[in-house]
Amino acid sequence: MRSIPLRRSKRKKLKALPQHLNLGRMSQFIRDAKELIAIGFKANNPKLDPRSMAMKYNMKNALVKTENGPLINYAKIKLSRGSRERAWSEEMIFTEGNKVTVNWDIPAMLDLKLIGYDKVYIVLYNEINQSMMYAKQHISRSDLTYTGTVSAEYIGKPIHGWIFFVSADGKEVSDSDYLGTGMVLA
């Protein structure tokens, strides 16, 4: 139980405004990805919660400060960080009928028995609507491909994609990999 501080009576200083904008921009993105951040950053640091870890990393690496305000470099965004094997030869293809196909590979030298049952998380982000979606059905790493349908409201809008893996017991996660950007085809 604690008291809530009183409403701030001092005006925000001009010097602090850029930082407020930066924090606000990244915080909005992280909020959209809340569920996935909780999975991808949970085992990283026992002293910091997943959201704080994600904010810390992405503020440092994925935020570009421009004259017009902060912009997110989606290629450097990480939705998960860990030591599990990352995706190889990952690609995202948009096909007609609102469909998205994601392919990945498992190199021959990796032990399929160890990583074949990893759960795959494929994440799509609509930059215009600022909405995030991911495939909720179970996809195994050994499947090597996944095709899903996105909502019609995303037609013609830029979509960013990421992929990461979680071990079958949920204890290990891989770093997320950026799949690129594209447009959903009708």
């Binding site: 990352r86 190889w88 030869s89 690609e91 590979d105 190199p107 030298m109």
Partner: protein, 294 residues
């Protein structure tokens, strides 16, 4: 630090050294100050107080204070560190700007912590170099765990510290802010075995073929040594490797690449490890390959 422990004022000492502290009798036996303090602090540690040891001329009575009636009065306010094994054991915690902890080899380490006033010129270069090496070593941790397992005597470092040190000194080129990794000088293994002889690499379709000369005439090379090969992809900071490849006498090992969709630069390395996994050679850079087929 402390003058002679002369408990002139027995009443003061009695009040201060009340239970559960050590009795005043021991104080009055004329013990040497360090031993007196030792016993007293031992009593403190058993109850794991938080007080701070300073010099003060003021007199202060409380259950948590001990006063030595010397030319200075020692007032214990806050000790932030703990002595779990008594004064003769190691300390754990922080006192002022000194932090104490026990490392994994059982040694108590003390170091200062200062207030950071912002990085300066040379520090930025150091920080950038450290970051470059950290990102370089992250995908190859299982490889360097074996490759740098033999730390030189006198250095209490783990494999990651050793690998970082070697590569930070040798494998960074350029000056701040244009520093980058010099892949020709990166090392992913270090040891005392002879260097691989005539190590070559070739890209054939979807495979990287490593070849070498067995060179069994050289002392330290044995037929049952195994090759360790590594392919590093700088564009994606990923790596593929084998830590227990072909035997030395076979003179050939193959790494099968995944199906890439775009051009890929590959930096390749090779090393040897003995059959009992105790000795290894330095890794050698075998060259850069460019994969550009679908």
């Amino acid at each position: 630090m402390f003058n002679t422990c002369q408990a002139k004022d027995k009443q003061i000492v009695d009040k201060a050294l009340a239970k559960p502290w050590q009795s005043t009798d021991k104080v009055l036996q004329g013990l040497w100050p360090c031993q007196c303090l030792l016993n007293t602090l031992n009593g403190l540690c058993e109850t794991s107080l938080s007080s701070k040891l300073i010099f003060s001329k003021s007199l202060f009575y409380s259950p948590h204070t001990i006063i030595f009636n010397t030319s200075y009065y020692i007032l214990i306010q806050y000790i932030m560190a703990r002595l779990p094994n008594g004064f003769n054991g190691g300390m754990k915690g922080r006192i002022g700007n000194i932090v104490y902890y026990t490392n994994k080899w059982g040694n108590t380490v003390a170091r200062t912590i200062g207030v950071k006033s912002g990085s300066k010129g040379g520090e930025f270069a150091n920080q950038t170099a450290t970051a470059l090496i950290t990102y370089l070593l992250k995908p190859v941790k299982p490889f360097i765990r074996i490759g740098f397992q033999n730390t030189p005597p006198g250095m209490e470092w783990n494999y990651h510290n050793y690998a970082s040190s070697v590569n930070k000194l040798n494998a960074i080129k350029g000056t701040y802010p244009n520093q980058e990794v010099d892949y020709e000088k990166v090392m992913f293994a270090k040891g005392e075995m002879p260097l691989p002889a005539n190590a070559q690499v070739a890209l054939k379709d979807n495979e990287i073929e490593f070849t070498w000369d067995a060179d069994l005439e050289t002392a330290g090379n044995y037929s049952r040594d195994q090759v360790m090969v590594l392919a590093f992809f700088p564009q994606s900071m990923k790596a593929m490797f084998l830590t227990s490849g072909a035997r030395r006498v076979e003179e050939r090992e193959v790494l099968t690449l995944p199906r890439f969709t775009s051009s890929m630069v590959i930096e390749t390395y090779l090393a040897f490890i003995s059959d009992d996994r105790m000795l290894m050679s330095d890794s050698v850079y075998t060259g850069q390959l460019v994969w550009d087929k679908k």
